[in-house]
């Protein structure tokens, strides 16, 4: 009984990669459905997107089949959510702040937030590194390279 359960969850797990790919292929097909196709010798803008979408779907199915048949496949590695969340937050904060508040605040907060991914970092360390990193960044990007990005809000 136990092996049967294991096998069942495994199949779903194993089919995931192919399934996601299939989803992408179908999505492409749906979005690009209205694009004019033309003929092979006079291709419209929709010809290649549809061809590629179909090919992706076919390969996705093939991958699903191959994966399900491969009973000894390793389980996919677990997702490290902490790293994912904090790195994403850091980059998003940068994206929001850089046009609004300038490069320096954006860099500073991005460093702070991304360092929070490390559970063991103390607030003092984080602050210190953020100041150092922002200072170095300011020197490099604004002083040396003179990128046309405002240091602070306009």
């Amino acid at each position: 009984m136990q092996t049967q359960d294991q096998a069942r969850t495994s199949i779903v797990h194993r089919a995931t990669s192919g399934a996601v790919l299939l989803f992408i292929g179908l999505g492409m097909l749906a979005i690009g459905w209205d694009y004019p196709i033309g003929r092979l010798t006079q291709m419209g803008p929709g010809f290649i997107p549809r061809a590629i979408a179909v090919m992706i779907c076919v390969i996705a199915v093939a991958i699903i089949i191959v994966d399900i048949a491969d009973a000894g496949m390793d389980k996919a590695g677990g997702i490290q959510w902490r790293g994912l969340i904090f790195v994403s937050a850091a980059m998003l904060i940068f994206a929001v702040l850089v046009d609004l508040a300038g490069l320096v605040p954006a860099m500073f907060l991005a460093v702070v937030v991304s360092m929070l991914a490390d559970k063991a970092a103390s607030p003092a360390t984080i602050l210190l590194y953020a100041v150092l990193a922002t200072g170095a960044g300011w020197l490099l990007f604004l002083v040396t390279l003179e990128l046309p990005i405002p240091a602070f809000w306009r």
């Binding site: 320096v104 100041v131 922002t134 200072g135 300011w138 046309p148 240091a151 602070f152 306009r154």
Partner: protein, 320 residues
Amino acid sequence: MLRNLIATLPLAIALAVPAVAQDSFPDRSLRIVHGFGPGGNADTVSRIMAEQMSQGLGEPVVVESRPGAGGTVASGYVAGEDPDGYTMQLLVGGHAVAAALYNSLPFEPVDDYTFLSTIGQFPFFLAARAGEYESIDALIEAALADPGSIVIGHSGVGSTQHLTGELLGLETGAEFIHVPYQGGAAASTALMGGEVDLIIDTGTVIRGQADAGVYDVLAVTSAERWPDSPDVPTLNETVAEGFDVISWTALGAPAGLPENVEAALSAEIQRVLAMEDVQAQIAALGASPRGSTGAELQALIERQIAVWTEVIDTAQIERR
């Protein structure tokens, strides 16, 4: 960090007392935004102007490149910025083209802007491989005799060059095949390699080969012969009467600029354009340096929007 804090203090004060800030325009760095990639004509002209204007205005002028969708991303961005004089846009002839070409734009091509001045104007030249066609008349004759036999390479769908080619077909009644390339350089390479028969593009793209005798420059698109190339006949005088296509670079700003700011900027632009060095640089890029008033620029743009709208309608080019 302390240094940065101190540096922002004047700014904080300036922001807190807006009336004072306006009288002392400008008191911080300005920027010229353009909608094309670094290194293109728009970028280079922006940098030329920025370099000189920073000296005249006493504040740094930086160039910001926000490419996308034929320059419309930058136009949309600038239209939404504060009309405080610190944000300008380097506009090109494509602005009028975009107004005609796009179904919906995130900005009003005329109403959302305070137009400051033109910088330079330039026509397009028609070039073919040396020796293949005696004159533009011969080329049009060949095109009329065998429709679809002459292939014109252009620098991208919806570009001014492309539309000029379509206009040529419309005005002469000849049927061409228009082949898009990624930029004028690629179209020129195709002409050299024999893949296309004619290209229509700026002097910058064509000059090197023309000087070397690889290309014959058959015609120019302006109504009058272009002063730098007096030997090149115009389309107007040969195969397409009334043909007058000129592209341009100009400076604009968001609509609603205060009068004194507008006056200050316009004066500075005219001052820079009067400098010999600047005139030489703009001429080197293939344009004729020519300033104008804001009203003249607006009239030019409105005129061109009308022309391009007609071309796009008649040639049934797909709008975006």
